[in-house]
């Protein structure tokens, strides 16, 4: 099974990216029902590159599944276009699209055995009997399902069902493989294992994949790129590192990982830059808000360091222009094994949550104790300005 598609028909030649397989152009989807009008997608522009693993991440109701269903052809956009390999396919019915979907509940046909389930798409495509048998055997071995061909779906474990669902989709050599939260029905341990396996198969076959999930860990672990959605809009598109380290909005910062919001005011805004005032110090950071949206400042909890003042007498005198220092008391700690969470109350009453990682050189026993005076250090370069969007949808 060699489904790797050479990027022959590149649409944006000259760009450093690989060929674009799917382009969404201003896709909008409105559901009209008796209960009113619901705009599930608000003008989505997105390019999906050949061979990549793209994850659409967002909370419930943000429109991510609708977006996937528009791609699959199960929903027709109210406005906008879907372009596949340079050709408009907005109105192309789902069964004509070279895409295959893996469903959350697997949707294995309960009356067909594993072999027939996997061969289903090939039979529809009128592939010769001998070739079907051959291709199914190959896929069974890739998926570690050898010998299970005669079983009915009901006789398989959850993980096996998951693999059959994947096998059934990849065997038709889809141009794009679509995943609708395929791991959410598995228990935590199996989920971790399947995550790796899914990614391995995807890379082995080189098939372009779009994966919908609300689990940020899954998204971070598997994706080449992540699309963060909220309220029918794309909040940010980027690699896992980009969206984690350089979130553009408070929503993204808060949804992927944890964000510590810092009290700040804007002193000045230039082109792509803003000067913020926080804790009495001025700080110039890059400005993600191109249209002058309200900003706020965030840091990641693991970027904060909390030091007991009593433990280090020299600390009070030390000064470093690269860090902002704040004094306070340690109010609570949670020891979580690999790290501890610390809650500090600053002298002005603000609460800050920090994370202290534990490794051989950082003994959790040496952490300050609850009630101790502590100093919080924030590296200036860790502070990011993000768009203060409050429309986090439910």
């Amino acid at each position: 099974m060699t489904a790797s598609n050479p990027s022959a028909n590149a649409t944006d030649a000259g760009a450093s990216h690989p060929a674009v397989v799917v382009r969404l152009d201003g896709v909008q989807k409105v559901f009209d029902s008796s209960r009113g009008r619901h705009e599930a997608l608000r003008s989505i522009d997105l390019e999906i590159y050949d061979g990549e693993f793209l994850t659409i991440l967002g909370p419930s109701g943000c429109g991510k599944t609708t977006l996937l269903r528009v791609l699959a052809g199960f929903e027709t956009p109210t406005r906008g276009e879907v372009i596949l390999d340079g050709r408009r396919c907005t109105d192309m019915p789902a069964n004509k699209r070279p895409m295959a979907m893996v469903f959350q509940n697997y949707a294995l046909f309960p009356h067909l055995n594993v072999f027939d389930n996997i061969a289903y798409g090939l039979r529809l495509a009128k592939v010769r009997r001998a070739e079907i048998a051959e291709r199914v055997e190959v896929v069974l071995s890739i998926m570690d399902l050898v010998g299970l061909g005669k079983r009915l779906p009901g006789q398989l474990s959850g993980g096996q069902q998951q693999r059959v669902a994947l096998a059934r989709s990849v065997i038709v050599r889809p141009r794009v493989l679509l995943f609708d939260e395929p791991l959410s029905n598995l228990d935590a341990r199996l989920r971790d294992q399947m995550r790796g396996e899914l990614r391995r198969v995807q890379q082995q076959l080189g098939v372009t994949s779009v994966y919908v999930t609300h689990d940020q860990t899954e998204a971070m672990a598997m994706s080449d790129r992540i699309v963060v959605m909220s309220n029918g809009r794309l909040e940010q598109v980027g690699t896992p590192v980009e969206v984690y380290r350089r979130p553009v909005s408070l929503f993204v910062a808060d949804f992927i990982g944890k964000a510590v919001v810092l009290d700040c005011s804007i002193v000045r805004r230039g082109v792509g830059e803003a000067t913020l005032s926080l804790f009495g110090e001025q700080l110039t950071v890059s400005d993600p808000g191109a249209d002058g949206e309200p900003l706020t400042a965030v840091v990641r909890p693991e970027d904060l360091s909390v030091v007991g003042v009593g433990a280090d007498p020299e600390l009070a005198q030390r000064s470093d222009p690269a860090v902002i220092r704040l004094d306070g008391w340690l109010r609570s700690t949670e020891f979580l094994g690999s790290e501890s969470r610390l809650r500090v109350e600053l002298t002005d009453g603000t609460l800050l949550d920090a994370v202290a990682a534990h490794h051989a050189a950082a003994d959790p026993e040496l952490l300050p104790r609850i009630g101790d005076r502590v100093r919080v250090e924030i590296p200036r370069h860790a502070v990011r300005a993000v768009i203060d969007s409050h429309d986090v949808c439910e």
């Binding site: 027709t76 004509k96 529809l124």
Partner: protein, 580 residues
Amino acid sequence: MTALPRRGITRRARSSIAGIRGQGVFGLAVLVAVALIVLFVVYPTVEIVVRSLSGEGRSQWERLFHASETVRTFRNTMLLGAVVGAVGTFVGLVMAFVQVRTTFPGRRLLHLLVLIPIVSPPFSVAMSVITLFGRSGLISREVFHTRYDISGLDGLVIAISISFMPVAYLNFVGMLRAFDSALEEAATDLGAGFLYRLRTVVLPLLAPGIASSFLLIFVSSIADLGSAVLLGGEFDVLASRIYLAVIGEFNLDKASVYSVMLLGPSLLIFAAQFFWLRRKEYVTVTGKASAPLRPISSIPAKIFLGGFAAAVLAFIALIYGYIVVGAFTQVWNINFSPTLDNVRFVLRGAGFQALRDTIVLALVATPIAGFAGLVIAFVITQRTFRGRGLLDFASVLGVAVPGTIIGIGLLLAYNEPRLGGLIPELQGTAAIIVLAFTIRSMPGVVRVAVGALNQLGSNLEEASVSLGATTFQTFRKIVLPLIRPAMFSSLIWSFARSMTSLSPIIFLITPQWRIMTAQILNEADQGRFSNAAAYSLVLVAVVLVAVGLLAVTTGFSSIGEATGLRRLIRERQHPNESEP
């Protein structure tokens, strides 16, 4: 009840196969199905209303409207519906409680006995009640030594309640089985006793089912022509008035006017049940019990339930047992010397024509109803289809409109060629009887098919489409195999329904085409009760053979055991929710 959000999911789940549009085969099938409903349900009903408002009909309205007896008849009809609705619902509820919530022995027998009225013509109970409790009935005469005449409201209530009680019973058994035991356990934990739990938890949750059972029985009972004719006596109801107007006076104008009076409340009640209650009920029924319900432990409750159930079962056994006695005796209720003459009359003699005709026509109607019902169900469950709500309602009109009205309507509508000769004159043909059978049994098929399709959810279909299948291929390769057992059983029940129905065909039969139920009524009317009993017995036997066939082929399992559908449903009960 965990089922609360479920409805939304099911609704969404069967969202969309990308367009039925452009799928030729289905377009055609939909057209045929819609035409069937419009031409043979809607149009005949409209025809009756039109007839009742025609010149002749208007004068009938005037005459009847001012006659105090008409007012009385209407009031009687409503009273009958209300009392039978209440009694039938109560009996069904108690029997369901005994079935689901007790450990009494013989609950399997209870199930079978309670369901007998479904496989027998509704008025056979009336027949037996007359011979047992009538003026010269066996029990009134020999046990109570009275000449009390049970004809009238009391007799009708007893007979019709028993006839339609299974509707409520099946409804409540489903609801009680789906009842989440955690709810009751929670109430017990908080210190609630049996009666308190019943009042505050169980009954309120069953309320939609109680209301809908009441309404369904109400509608069925006011339309029950056979019982009203046999057992009504001085107690006039619309159904018997319609019968007399047509058979006695052959005055179709008068019959139309009475029909409209009957149609109004029936449609109103059915619409209420359909648009309002059914939705609420769905919520409760779909919930899956997290643990088996604990049997009732309260002693007084057990005594009451056991006593009540035993009495009802004894009564049913008496009623039907006495029909058997009637079938094998010289003159039912008078001369008890055993004979096979009556049964021979039905199987070999003059009665055989009715037996043969009924079976043939019911066999013809069943696949038509099955096919049309399946197509309509498929269309109804597609979200993308506009106007599916209307089609959904139209598809149940076949049972919402009382049978007599369907019959008279067909008669009025097709007593001459229609659509420029495309539909020939149907009056007096076998086709019109087949149509009546089809119309009456199709709604049941639609409901079963919609249920089965909704349980499938659309992910399976989407998976198939996503792998390149057309809607039709998906239907043939995925949907049909999965709902086949459900469809098969609904076809058997369609057959049973056609075999046992009287009111829609009573005005359509001719000497060329005889129908058993009409023959039974005729024989009973003529006082040949033993022949009527023999007919009833053979009729029940035929239906039981069909049902037995079903039981054998599906191994007594319910819908999906064989197909794994059950497991599928179970999985769907606990999906990790993604998006609303």
